[in-house]
Symmetry: D2
Subunit: 360 residues, 4 copies
């Protein structure tokens, strides 16, 4: 007797080369080849800018993808662009898609990579960079976990957040309601928003407890962090876009994810261990990592000069170097190595999420 067909979901991950920040032709070709644009959940891009303040390659890439998706009548894809392909890191897009399937039981044996999304409510601007934002994001992460069919925070391996920041207009709006904003400096508000968002992830995943997250720890207590959060601030939204990547039995297919927390920039052992927890007969589908100069000025007990270099930003040094460390481990250069940030990186170390595709 045949088993009944089962409803399941399946994620897809594609790394696509980019010849420039506006080169979306590789993704367009995948659409022509059958990938449904409406199935795309998110695109994480590495673009060849400096990854710092005046990096316009991110905006150029975002505008190029918005135009592409608009041509296909699709809205709402999360576009997360990380500047900086230092060293031999290779500019590329990682496309995340998902689909619902009526699968036969034989294939249905998860767990597999699960991708869940959510959007929060509009963030009152005087909550930005404060405990309220962290709580709002934590709730959003829990919603996205539910969307992904993930119950256990231990099954979550990477959380991408896109969060708002303050503009002069938004500060004025808060002022007019009689509420004080956390900062009147718009640049600083980006950091506070990312930090509060990361602490929201930490809260949802049980890395930090709720009582600890007070307004004053945001942006100052560097020992509080989520090792699975990746936050970026964007002017185009006033709520939060949240994408959770983890493992779930409700999902199917050859993809699996795990993550390591490197204790230092040269801690390859943790990465090898994480890889070893994943199926051996599998190819690398994506590596998502964060890198920052060790604030102690030392790596492995020896001085580094990243933070004293007035010619090259420390984050650029860090991406180049950690990019090399990871490229040596994985044998490939189209890695998503992003500058870490507020409450997203253990001091001196960095998280590395690994997605593999099992051989059939």
């Amino acid at each position: 007797m045949m088993q009944a067909a089962t409803r399941t979901r399946r994620a897809h991950v594609f790394r696509v080369a980019a010849s420039s920040p506006s080169d979306v032709s590789g993704v367009e070709a995948m659409f022509s080849a059958g990938l449904k644009p409406e199935n795309v959940v998110a695109i994480l891009g590495k673009t060849e800018g400096n990854g710092c303040v005046n990096d316009f390659t991110r905006g150029f890439a975002t505008a190029s993808f918005e135009a592409l998706f608009a041509r296909h009548g699709v809205e709402g894809v999360s576009l997360v662009m990380s500047g900086g392909t230092e060293g031999a890191l290779s500019p590329h897009w990682t496309v995340f898609a998902r689909e619902s399937l009526i699968d036969d039981a034989a294939d249905a044996g998860g767990p597999a990579l699960a991708i869940g999304t959510s959007r929060t409510f509009h963030l009152p601007f005087h909550h930005l960079g404060r405990r309220e934002q962290a709580l709002m994001v934590a709730e959003g992460v829990i919603t996205a976990m539910a969307d992904a069919g993930i119950d256990d925070p231990a099954d979550v391996h990477f959380v991408q957040i896109k969060c708002p920041f303050l503009t002069l207009a938004r500060i004025g709006e808060a002022d007019s309601t009689g509420h004080a904003v956390a900062t009147r400096e718009t640049l600083k508000s980006m950091g506070l928003s990312r930090g509060a968002s990361a602490l929201g992830v930490a809260l949802a995943l049980g890395e930090v407890d709720a009582a600890t997250i007070t307004d004053d720890v945001i942006g100052s207590r560097h020992d509080l962090f989520s090792s699975r959060a990746s936050a970026s601030a964007g002017v185009e939204l006033t709520d939060h876009e949240i994408i959770v990547f983890g493992m779930s039995r409700a999902w199917n297919g050859p993809l699996a994810i795990d993550h390591a927390v490197m204790a230092s920039a040269i801690d390859t052992a943790s990465v090898h261990n994480a890889r070893a927890r994943l199926p051996e007969r599998a190819t690398i589908a994506a590596v998502l990592a964060k890198a920052e100069p060790d604030p102690s000025g030392m790596v492995g007990g020896r001085r580094h000069t990243m933070l004293d270099d007035s010619d090259i930003a420390g984050t650029r040094h860090a991406r180049a170097f950690v990019g090399g460390v990871l490229a040596g481990v994985f044998g490939m250069t189209d890695l998503y190595v992003s500058g870490g940030a507020e409450h997203q990186v253990p001091p001196g170390g960095g998280p590395v999420a690994i997605i593999v595709e099992k051989e059939r």
Copy 2:
């Protein structure tokens, strides 16, 4: 009955941290602790400059060591400074010393790391950058091999050359003797001198045959190279300082050397293999490597952006990245990773010499 004592030689290698380009205090402390300044053969330094044209950290370090050795009445130590500690590479000095010992037979069982030196005759300036220079260097390498007690070129793993270059005065001197120089551009003469020197090493080690080395291949035929040469041009000499590192039965002690030729910036397999050819129970004494952006614009089949970056020199990207690759392999950041150069690096790859110290 006791065995007769045997005359033997022993090399010493020390990595010493540098807190700045002029910080020679660590080496001075070793002198106080017993290292004889006159036993020092060479110091290879990594200094925290940009490693390019306007890197004055090299000159500052050289001047600082010259003053130190002058205070100890020692002259003629080969001082080779390589700028650029990108990524988490750590500024440091590698001190190479050697001594003659009357050793008891039990310890005398080489082979061990051997260090030989030589200086060539004064180079007629119109020979610079030409076949004659390569032949002169080849002869010098053979002399240094003899000094090291190495017969077989296969036992040579790293050759450091310091070579002269043309100044306006030297061009004038050549002119006055009626001989045409290879180039009238002083900057270009540095590259030609390094290239001819590297081809001299290649000739001595049997990597290139003598007939191939004509004037016109110097600086143009990139498929001709020595994978064991490291050349730097200095204004302070008109001959060549040559240091050969290899293995010899005439030497003793716990140090051993081997080398890999990485086929690409992410070819860690070759490095692991070279390490595996050395004793397992041993610590790393020094790693000497060269790195350059792959001229094809690709690493492992994927585009890199090192050569298109007008903000950061490609050699800086390459040192940061290959520094990361090797630091991941060796678990340390005080590696001598130097910008490769003319006829010293296989296109897209790079040599890595590894010196280990066996545990007792």
Copy 3:
């Protein structure tokens, strides 16, 4: 008795602030305020990139303006983006428009700023970077002069050329017709195309004679140049867009143009003299200048370090410094100071076109 009305033309020049490379809102606001998009001839932009190889701010600005003009149903506006707002140079767009008027005689008294345009035929790719290209451009300049109503080359003060370059596909196309291209390196073809175009301007304006322009002088004879040419290479065209700025009696209105050739980066006397040749009671409408590091390594007999700096490109130094020199003279920072180039700058000096608007 009233005089008969006269048909005349009038140019308009607007400097518009840009808050980012994609900020076209200032120009859009002018459309709302009455400027007809179809009257716009060209936009010369200064964008805040590095002005070198990996400057994507130019492409981002171009894409943003193309989208703007497409929304208004206008095509064919010449968009010339120059990266690099070093020092206190201010990112901005200079909008050039023109219109035909039936003017009353009182106002009709030119001469005034005249703007003429032309496009050449498609350039056979094996002509690129060769004498044929220069001749084609020279003809195009003469056509644009006629369009502007300028007879005398002495009345031309600035010529902007947009020229094609070679891609692999174009080289293949030339190969397939059995014609050899001037270079197979695409990057080099950009320089050759700009150089040949500039020599075409020089020919049209009588700065160089036709016999001198042979294939081999293009890219090598730096003493041959036009002091009024500004060329940029773009992949999007296979012909040439030419815009001539000068003075003509057929034009009307308060605008006037003249130009200086600075003999060195600090030659303010020539600029003051050019300004003095224009009406005194007038405000500055636009300053269009070119700057390059003096190849002699000296300015005013003293060494500069622009060409030895491996951290900052020499053209960036030059724009910052000449930007300062000219901002000091004109008292404003939204100047179009562009990196000079092949056959467009006298060695060590640079052209400066000044457009003023007479007070009424």
Copy 4:
């Protein structure tokens, strides 16, 4: 009848080209030509580093001059090295010397450039960066004015201070005496020391009153500043070296000094006015200026990008640009344009001291 000879003093100022940060040969040549090394009071150098944290050209230059003066048996010359010769600024040394003369009355008609020096007592380390340091420096400035024979603060046009900063050892020393230091961050202590020193100058010159200078304004109240102070922190001293430049009737000779305060980076009018207050028939002996990016993000009402550029430090942009502005005014590029700093620059503007030598 002959008039009686008069005892007077005379200052000398020489600008000497430097071919590299260690090139002291030009000054050595002046010693050979008759300049007495013991008459040299100070050398202000512009070296070709980045002028930021990892600029070792300053230390290299200082070490090179120390060795030179040691060879001549001279100690205590104030060596002040400012990194950064962006744009076409030319690396050079400005040598300040003074001598006592028995002059005949005809020549004795001052006033002329006067140079006075002083050293303060040792600064207790817990006073560093606090009101006490400012008071100590103010007293030292008054002493140096007396040394220069200057009574009226209005006659002082430039004050160079070399001040100490905190090291870990010095913090420990303060700790051991039970006194809290102003900061435990050594880098921050440099800024506090420069700031307190500059406010000391402001106090001595009547630019700020004593009651205003409390601990908490140091480093925070940017509206408090001296427009004639130039402070640099050095690890080699624990007191302060102070050099006052001004006009005095007790001095003689062809040199004269005045200064301008530029209201913005393009305020050339103030510079022309200061120049006009000096003798017309005179050549420029030295220009000493400070430059910083306008913190408002605007110059002359238009946006600049210096503070958003993550590739080039804002101070480098500012030196290049203001260097251009001043080189355009003075027609020379060996100007001492130094990055301004704490309490030394009016926000958005900068001081410019001009020393001229009257024609005879």
